[in-house]
């Protein structure tokens, strides 16, 4: 009987509900909201569902799957050994504390999600997702009309505008309290590119990773709702009705030269963008070469799916109550929306300029596709264009700025990382 009661007592004391507090309960309820958005509303469900489940798991007490304290240099510092050069036996060793993490402790004490989170922290998953994206993307429309690159660049205006906005928020005293690194991580939401946002945030402000990933993927899912009003507001019916000429056919050699040239040019100017742009182009080269069919299939399917699961569930796991339930999250959601809207507006406005310069041959609606969010943003351009003129087919024209936006946001992330990283 005594064994029974002590076992029961031990079980009771280690039960999760003992450790539940109001913050955990709110986070668990929030994860249920994300389940609803992923399953019922189908908002980017492939990532939203794993993110929601990661959020649920990490906020259930005593599961030991994820330990936020292991990922903070303040609570898990790394002490670098410094050896005396004259001592061949390395007896005289001193240790200096560095602003880095003790990964040995992560491996020793970490749970399952800590292990998987290493892939985010060590910048492994986002480039691998880019490998799959590159293996799936046809850059033909961009090669056929290189001017599309300009629209892809203009739409990145949302990133830098929001960077200023986040800094300005500190000044107004309304709240926020974002450091430069945090402001840059929030601003990258304007790139409308999930892996890029995760890549940059994991380097600059890992404590905001959960909030930024949820905001970025939510807005990407809401592209068909957010963009059309801005596109209609900034364009006239006459501009929206412009039919663009057919794109020229792109040869296989051009498609093979493209990824190699982009990798070399971008990496030589912004080396910090190479992990994203380089791997994106590697995936594309495998596809266009036509000699790596098996590898391409793996990159497009199995590898991409595995990484998506790991990335989603671990990013969700970082959304612990102490990080997520703060005013910062509210400001991140507002600033993320501003970033998206300004990015769309910048793309459309440059599209309008190109409409004038080209003698009314370019439909400004394709400019909004420059915010990446492939292929959703291009679909929105197609949809809004066909609403004005049902016989107008802008999809392939919008794919140019759309894929240029992927390269543009990776370059923007590289620029921010280069200066603030």
């Amino acid at each position: 009987m005594e064994i029974f009661t002590s076992t029961f007592k031990g079980l009771f004391e280690s039960a999760g509900f003992i450790g539940l507090d109001i913050k955990n309960i709110i986070m668990i309820l929030l994860s249920f909201v994300l389940f609803y958005l992923a399953i019922k509303k189908q908002y980017e469900p492939l990532l939203m569902l794993p993110i929601a489940f990661g959020m649920l798991l990490t906020n259930l007490p005593f599961t030991g799957l994820y330990h936020p304290e292991l990922w903070d240099p303040a609570t898990n510092p790394y002490f670098a050994p410094t050896y005396n050069a004259n001592d061949v036996n390395n007896i005289f060793v001193t240790f200096t504390q560095e602003t880095s993490l003790d990964y040995g402790r992560v491996l020793h004490d970490g749970g399952l999600l800590d292990m998987l989170y290493l892939g985010v922290k060590l910048q492994i998953y986002p480039p691998l997702i880019f490998l799959g994206i590159g293996a799936m993307t046809d850059f033909g429309p961009l090669i056929a009309n290189p001017k599309s690159f300009l629209l892809g660049a203009a739409a990145q205006g949302g990133i830098f505008f929001t960077f200023l906005g986040a800094c300005l928020l500190n000044f107004t005293g309304l709240g926020g309290g974002f450091t430069l690194k945090e402001a840059a991580s929030i601003a990258i939401i304007g790139g409308a590119d999930g892996p890029t946002a995760i890549y940059l945030t994991s380097q600059l402000a890992p404590q905001l990773l959960g909030s930024i990933a949820v905001a970025a993927y939510s807005y990407m899912a809401l592209v068909p709702v957010i963009q059309p009003p801005i596109m209609k507001l900034l364009t006239t019916e006459k501009e929206r009705a412009v039919k663009m000429g057919q794109l020229r056919e792109v040869s296989k050699i051009e498609k093979i030269v493209f990824p190699i040239a982009v990798t070399v040019i971008v990496s030589l100017i912004v080396p910090t963008a190479a992990p994203l742009v380089g791997i994106l182009m590697f995936g594309n080269l495998m596809k266009e070469s036509g000699v790596c069919d098996r590898l391409v299939k793996t990159a497009q399917n199995e590898l991409m799916n595995i990484i998506t699961i790991f990335l989603g569930v671990t990013v969700g796991a970082t959304a612990v109550a102490s990080n997520f339930l703060s005013w910062k999250t509210i400001f991140i959601i507002i600033l993320g929306l501003i970033a998206f809207c300004v990015g769309t507006a910048c793309g459309v406005l440059l599209g309008k300029l190109m409409y004038v310069i080209s003698g009314h041959k370019i439909n400004p609606l394709i400019g909004s596709a420059g915010v990446s969010a492939v292929p959703m943003a291009a679909r929105v351009s197609q949809k809004v264009g066909s609403q004005t003129n049902p016989s107008n087919f802008l999809l392939m024209h919008a794919m140019g700025p759309n894929v240029a936006g992927v390269i543009g946001s990776a370059v923007a992330a590289g620029v921010l990382l280069s200066v603030l990283g």
Binding site: I143, L150, F160, F161, G177, I265, V266, F393
Partner: protein, 152 residues
């Protein structure tokens, strides 16, 4: 120091100030720094300019590549056309066949249009006086395209 930091300095920002700002522990102390706004402004401006610069270089490169490939393709096509012209020195018969084929095609199209109208009208009490081809996409190709694009 990386190239972008040097670019920032040449744009007027104090590179040391950005590094100093990053070492400050929180937003409030960063905001209190005298170089905060100049650093933030120049960083944002330089950032968007660098993105434009890189993508402009890519535009130039791929425009050049496209021009070269278009020229190569055009000369290939011209060579092929002149070779084909040299090979076929018996124009009379093929032209007649082609013309016949074209007439057959047209008759076939008119027959299909007549059948479609008959099916639509329900009786054969109508006369087709003229069939004129419109420029651009045909109604059928437009319907097919619209159907394919509906999913987007």
């Amino acid at each position: 120091m990386n190239a972008l930091m040097m670019l920032l300095e040449s744009a007027g920002a104090d590179g040391g100030a950005i590094e100093r700002l990053q070492n400050l522990p929180d937003a409030a102390s960063q905001l209190a720094d005298k170089d905060y706004w100049s650093s933030v402004g120049i960083l944002a401006l330089t950032g968007i300019l660098v993105v434009f610069l890189i993508l402009a270089i890519l535009i130039f490169f791929f425009w050049l590549m496209g021009t070269i490939f278009k020229a190569i393709n055009r000369s290939h096509a011209e060579n092929k056309a002149s070779k084909d012209a040299a090979k076929t020195e018996k124009p009379a018969a093929p032209v007649a066949v082609q013309a016949e084929a074209a007439v057959d095609d047209e008759e076939e199209i008119i027959a299909v249009i007549s059948a479609a109208i008959a099916a639509y009208e329900g009786d054969g009490n109508f006369t087709i006086r003229n069939v004129v081809k419109h420029g651009g996409r045909s109604a059928w190709s437009m319907a097919g395209l619209s159907d394919n694009m509906r999913q987007f």
